[in-house]
């Protein structure tokens, strides 16, 4: 019986494959599309990337890339979309539009709704959506349209915990101190870091006790707010929102937030224990801080240990969330982690999208998705023998050309920001998680998830009117919140200014703003 079922299954599978791979499925003559592709500084030339050649060979679809540097991307894309003329056929890259922008331009008819195309020409992607309804929920706009193909990667790196803390173990050992577990201990340790010549270069003043970067959620110190109530986050469209038992909360209007600002200022910023330059540094400066002869940083916030550069990486260990002054703590987590709504969008100027969509469907075939994300077989990954004891089919090449880091080796050869979808079962059976992701996964599971009780607002798509309202009132509200947050942490004054701040937020329409987020949350997850 069992045999019969598997035989039938295999037969069904073959038939569906046969249907997909009919001779004339892909165009007989080469078809070209103009595609804007967002390039990181680390990326090699997209025109030379092997994976795109392999995919072109298979589909007969040629992508005519306009490679736009990450730094210019947003301005260029927004100006062009707002102009509404001379649009490329597609915008290609994870993070190429925020979900607010996606709805804004989708709702105005600048982006093609893809529902029918997915239904007809994307067998691979359709199968993924059926297996993972949460992905479908995340990319479907309230009007029922799907405007984007997502970039999903459930590898733990884009994991549930956006930010961890790391501390210099070598310095701790030298001073005979332990990894701190409470906020008081952290204060004592950082004070010792500040006063001693921990890195042993003869200068007791070049040690930066703790650093952060006031941008995004990965390097920010918002997690520390959790000791006083809810953790705070600067992440994308969910800025400062969390959900507690179904109730949407704007963290910066809570009492705990006020206490956190006052405490962190008094005990850390005023004493120079957390570096004020975190508010003004750009990313290049942040990354350069620890690249000298000796380590300069005592502790830092980051999404991954190697983020601050590999020079002194071995000196650091992860630090678990600390207990606050009254013995409680909380850290923030994301539920929709691993799903990036936008990986590829087609514009209204794409006259004949069918072949491009067929090409895109190939990225959701794990064989190609894997090579986009982790490099081509033979270059960045190797095929394992069928009976390999690890149980995996592929593994990483771990020897990089001279002087290259893993990221440089990877981003130089392939385009890991593509639309694709690699889920947990892929990492369990086909290719193991990257080493860095494994380490991060372990830290999260052991230290962070047990105390991660602040649920950051999930990625959701808003209705067109709500989106306009958010864009309108939210801009002022968020800029006031972030201006004051920086000011209170760095210079203090939260107690004196709090009442006026809340009154201003209310006058700006805070309640309406929260209500929109609450309503959308309720619609998506039920009351």
């Amino acid at each position: 019986m069992k045999k019969l079922v598997s035989l039938l299954l295999a037969l069904a599978l073959m038939m569906s494959c046969a249907a997909v791979l009919a001779e004339d499925y892909y165009p007989a003559e080469k078809v070209s599309y103009n595609v804007w592709i967002r390039m990181r500084p680390m990326n090699g030339n997209a025109d030379d990337m092997e994976i795109f050649k392999i995919m072109e060979e298979k589909t007969n679809v040629h992508l005519n890339f306009e490679q736009i540097p990450q730094a210019d991307w947003e301005e260029k894309v927004l100006l062009t979309l707002n102009g509404g003329v001379d649009l490329p056929d597609a915008l290609y890259s994870g993070y190429s539009l925020t979900s607010t922008q996606l709805l804004q331009f989708g709702g105005q008819g600048l982006l093609l709704p893809l529902n029918d195309l997915i239904e007809q020409y994307m067998p691979n992607f359709k199968a993924k959506l059926e297996a993972h309804p949460e992905v479908k929920a995340a990319i479907t706009a309230p009007d029922g349209n799907i405007y984007s193909l997502p970039f999903c990667r459930f590898d733990g790196l884009t994991g549930q915990i956006p930010s961890n803390m790391f501390i210099n173990k070598v310095w701790l050992d030298k001073l005979g101190l332990q990894v701190p577990t409470t906020i008081d201990e952290l204060e004592a340790v950082l004070t010792a870091f500040k006063e001693n010549d921990c890195n042993g270069n003869g200068d007791p003043n070049d040690e930066i006790p703790m650093t952060f970067k006031n941008e995004g959620s990965q390097r920010d110190l918002g997690g520390l707010f959790g000791m006083f109530g809810y953790a705070d986050n600067l992440y994308g469209g969910q800025h400062h929102f969390c959900v507690d038992d179904g109730k949407v909360i704007l963290t910066p209007a809570t009492e705990g937030y006020k206490k956190a600002c006052a405490y962190l200022h008094e005990h850390f910023f005023a004493k120079g224990l957390i570096d004020q330059e975190g508010f003004t540094m750009d990313k290049a400066t942040y990354n350069a801080q620890n690249q000298g002869e000796v380590a300069n940083i005592g502790a830092y916030f980051s999404w991954n240990i190697f983020d601050l550069g590999s020079a002194h990486m071995d000196e650091y260990v992860a630090m678990a969330p600390l207990l606050g002054p009254d013995g409680t703590t909380s850290w923030g987590y994301v539920t929709s982690s691993g799903i990036e709504t936008v990986g590829l969008v087609l514009t209204k100027d794409c006259k004949d999208p069918v072949n491009l969509i067929k090409w895109a469907d190939l990225t959701y075939d794990d064989f190609y998705g894997m090579q986009l994300e982790y490099g081509c077989i033979g270059t960045n990954i190797v095929e394992l023998p069928a009976d390999d004891p690890s149980g995996f089919k592929y593994d990483y090449v771990r020897e990089y050309p001279d002087g290259m880091t893993y990221d440089e080796f990877l981003f130089g050869n392939t385009y890991p920001d593509s639309c694709l979808a690699l889920f947990r079962d892929f990492y369990d059976t086909v290719l193991p998680m990257p080493d860095s992701a494994k380490a991060k996964d372990k830290i999260n599971n052991e230290m962070y998830l047990p105390v991660a009780t602040t649920k950051y607002y999930p990625t959701l798509l808003f209705s067109a009117e709500d989106n306009d309202r958010i864009n309108d009132i939210g801009t002022d509200i968020i800029s006031l919140i972030e201006e004051k947050r920086a000011e209170w942490l760095a210079r203090g004054g939260v107690d004196e200014q709090w009442d006026e701040y809340i009154a201003t937020l209310e006058a700006m329409g805070m309640q309406e703003y929260i209500d929109i987020y609450q309503k959308t949350y309720d619609t998506a997850y039920g009351k």
Binding site: L81, N82, G83, G109, Q276, T285, D476, E483
Partner: protein, 313 residues
Amino acid sequence: MQLSAKTLRQGKWHMRKKMIRQHWPLYLFLLPTVVYFLLFRFYPLYGLQLAFKNYRVVDGIAGSPWVGLDNFRRFFSTADFGKLMWNTLGVSVFTLIFTFPLPIILALLLNQLPSLRYKKLVQTTVYAPHFISTVVMVGMIFLFTSPSSGLINKIIEGFGGKAIHFTAEPGWFVPMYVISEIWQSTGWGSILYLAALAGVSPELHEAALVDGANKFQRVWHIDIPGILPTIVIMMILNAGKIMNVGFEKAYLMQTSLNIRASEIIATYVYKRGVLKSQISFATAVGLFESVVNMILVLIVNWISRSVTDSSLF
């Protein structure tokens, strides 16, 4: 015999045609400028209607629905309006006060130098910073003023002072902006005045020397009156730019800690219009800025016409 008005008009037109034919090369020279203004200065005015509309890309500029003064009302009622006006005026007025007279003084001083070689050397040195791009300039500011490693703070600490986090203090935004502006623009600005000074007749100076005037008196009574029309014209033109603070520099110098002082109209327009795609709202704010500029030009022009007799129009 009486000429009819018609004949007179025809005669005038005839004369004009003759003039154009005679001096056609001059008109040809004028052509690129006219084309430039039509293309880049007048044609974009068409888009100004967006300030009174609710722009939707698919409807286009002409097809978007009218909303009257809604966008302006929204801008005037935002909590930031007062702060934006104050910051913009603060940055520009201080920039004008400090950067306007300095090139004049520099030009007068350079003009007095007897050694031509030394004069050229100084001139080249002081206008070299003009060629540094804004991005690099702001990068330099951040490097020099860094509290942990910046040159300026090392000097302050060397004298026993306490390091100042310049880029984080709202109070330091305007001084840093103005000082770097002075450093970058003074030398370049003086070229114009040096040219004007070259036009002052040497006979006047010779006559003054004969009369026993000293250097200071010659500068005061001959050089300055000689270049006064240039100064006035420059003054009026600069007044038109008062609200028009260089966008890039302010934007790049913004940090989350000095934003209270560094958010100006131009950066606000960029954030709203480009980054948040609120095109109509940003157009309205930009139009408001231009109207204020226009009024300022008219006022300064009127003052200068009644006081000094020289004016733009």
